[in-house]
């Protein structure tokens, strides 16, 4: 309790509040800019923290992290250009809402959802960090294999109106994930004599290409291309979502916050999986599942609550065990070690003052980005009025510079341009792009853990059914596949009974 009181006192000093405000604003802008990710934002801030006291450094890094995840939702909703894979699920319903003139409402519910998820996971970080970390420790290679497989299946089911095409996109992603040096044997796989591919196909250029560059094509190629549909007007009266809408989304936000926090604790799972699992659950439990993908507020709330809940969740194993849950927290660990703070249990004992200051600042950062988001969204929504052929080249330049800044490689920029064209035609020909990207993220996790499981069990596949957690995950995957099939068959049978001719 003393630690908490000290932390509150530290956070409410002028310097801390100023750093918090600047960090939150910078994070939001970084998240909004297509091509700049949370990882890049946190990484860019680390050199700034060199000469700062550790408390202020962590406040800055924490604020940039949580607000950049929220910031990504703004461009995902208004322009359908999510800066990171965390906001892909948000764009599924956010952009259709914008296209129908309800962008402000979508931004409002995204802000409330993000705030809800962020506060929930920070509370979880504060209250149950050590306990949940123990659960994550019980996960072995079998569980990670099944978790990755489950995430992939969920994504294919969620985003594809023609599931076979979703599966083909996912297979293409898995193929791309096999490029590079094999971790187990050192074999060179599909390098095409390009040394840039030794570490594997770089994810961010592909992501930026498929989602940002392709969107630039979407805006520029049609003669009258624009974000907003023709003849639709922005509905400022719906700036804040109506109370009944928030009430309707409350249960979804609760569920998504729990899912996001749990997924965040599991290293490697990441924000996108949490967002897609929550989105799928929201659709499954919704009274209007047919509205999902066409502009449903619940879909935006589910995705945003989950991806912001991941921020607190990923910090649980990062701070208590030193195991970063994703790329951002890996960079975060780098930021901690610069100041002599080695992630692990001693952060909660020897450096408890600093750690609890970070946690308290996360609470404030969540509230601050929500306030700033609600104020700024009224103005940001005007972006949708800009003609596509003006906006498209600007998005393209941001994407190109953002891609170049990752490794200072023109190869990455060419890759982003190539995947921009691929993404543009995938959309035209109704191949979903999300399964490809998610498969690229999950592919290495799936392969490494599957091969590790097989090495342990000497290629005995029953190893996936002998451990209680893996057996439970198998049951969940079977249910995730069987339930939609059963519902489809039931729907078809009902239709046949009504109209026997069909």
């Amino acid at each position: 309790m003393d630690y908490l009181l000290n932390a509150i006192a530290t956070v409410f000093t002028f310097e801390a509040l100023l750093v918090l405000f600047l960090g939150t604003l910078a994070g939001m802008i970084i998240g909004m800019l297509p091509g700049l990710s949370s990882t890049m934002g946190v990484a860019l801030c680390i050199p700034i923290t060199f000469n700062m006291p550790p408390e202020l450094s962590l406040i800055l890094l924490g604020a940039v992290y949580v607000s950049s995840v929220y910031g990504g939702s703004v461009t995902a909703i208004l322009l359908r250009t999510p800066g990171t894979d965390a906001s892909i699920a948000t764009s599924l319903d956010g952009f259709p809402l914008t296209s129908s003139g309800r962008g402000a409402e979508a931004l409002g519910i995204a802000t409330i959802g993000s705030l809800f998820g962020g506060l929930f996971s920070t509370l979880a970080l504060l209250a149950i960090a050590p306990l949940l970390s123990k659960v994550a420790l019980a996960f072995g290679p079998q569980e990670y294999t099944l978790l990755a497989l489950g995430g992939l299946i969920t994504v294919i089911g969620v985003v594809s109106d023609i599931p076979v095409k979703g599966l083909i996109a996912a297979i293409a992603g898995l193929m791309l994930a096999t490029i590079g040096l094999d971790n187990f044997t050192g074999a060179q796989r599909f390098l095409f004599d390009r040394p840039e591919l030794i570490d594997g196909m770089p994810l961010l250029p592909v992501l930026i290409g498929l989602f940002s560059v392709s969107q630039a094509f979407n805006l520029c190629v049609p003669v009258a291309g624009r974000v907003l549909d023709e003849n639709t007007k922005l509905r400022f009266s719906g700036h804040f979502p109506y109370f009944h809408d928030i009430k309707r989304c409350l249960r979804t936000m609760n569920r998504s916050s729990v899912i996001g926090t749990i997924v965040g604790i599991l290293p490697g799972a990441g924000t996108s999986i949490a967002a897609f699992i929550s989105y799928n659950e929201a659709r499954r439990k919704s009274k209007n599942p047919e509205n999902f993908g066409k502009g449903e507020l619940e879909g935006v709330a589910a995705s945003e609550a989950a991806n912001n809940a991941v921020t607190g969740g990923t910090l649980i194993p990062t701070l208590t065990l030193g195991i970063p849950g994703n790329a951002v927290t890996a960079v975060f660990v780098g930021g901690l070690t610069i100041h002599g703070l080695i992630p692990g249990p001693q952060l909660f004992t020897d450096f408890a003052d600093i750690t609890y200051t970070l946690i308290m600042s996360l609470f404030l950062a969540n509230i601050l980005f929500a306030v700033l988001g609600l104020i700024l969204s009224r103005h940001l929504v005007h972006v949708t009025r800009i003609p596509g052929a003006l906006l498209g080249p600007m998005i393209l330049i941001f994407s190109i510079i953002g891609t170049y800044a990752l490794r200072n490689e023109m190869f990455d920029v060419w890759l982003a341009a190539l995947f921009g064209v691929i993404g543009y035609f995938m959309e035209r020909w109704r191949f979903p792009t999300a399964p490809l990207v998610i498969a690229m993220v999950l592919g290495p996790i799936l392969e490494v853990n599957f091969r590790r499981s097989m090495q342990i069990s000497d290629w005995d596949l029953t190893v996936f059914f002998t451990r209680p957690i893996s057996l439970a995950l198998v049951c969940m995957i079977v249910a995730a596949i069987a339930y939609p099939v059963w519902r489809h068959l039931k729907h078809k049978r009902a239709l046949n009974q009504v109209n026997p001719v069909n």
């Binding site: 076979v164 297979i171 293409a172 193929m175 094999d182 187990f184 074999a187 498209g392 020909w429």
Partner: protein
Amino acid sequence: MKLTVVDRSIVALFISVCAVVIAKALDMQGDAGVIPIFVSVLGVITCIFLLVSTFSSEYSQTATCTVNWYRFGVLSGFIVLLLLSMNWLGALIAIPLFLLASFVLLARVPALVAISLTVGFTVVIYLAFIWALEVPLPLGVLEPWLDS
């Protein structure tokens, strides 16, 4: 082009890629080729499913999106020129040229508006990425002046 024709062409292309992957993966040392082979076999099976479904009457009625090939070609050409010229001409010259050409030819805005937007956006890019974030963008012919 009809969606069925597009899908059948993609199926043919994807099966060819899968066949090449399988052939290459069979020569890999240890179990390095297991996952590529497994994924490719799954890919072939899925492609066959898609191919079969393209013959259904319901599928042939699926609407396809049209592409304005002229504007697509112009934009793609501009991007290729931008990327080719970024190294030797420098980002701060190549980017404004790309923006100006895009605004004039694709957005069809008056020249004065296009020039103002280009200059404004280039200044933002310079301040945000080169000055504040110190992204080492290729400076090309401007290097002797800007490097110092």
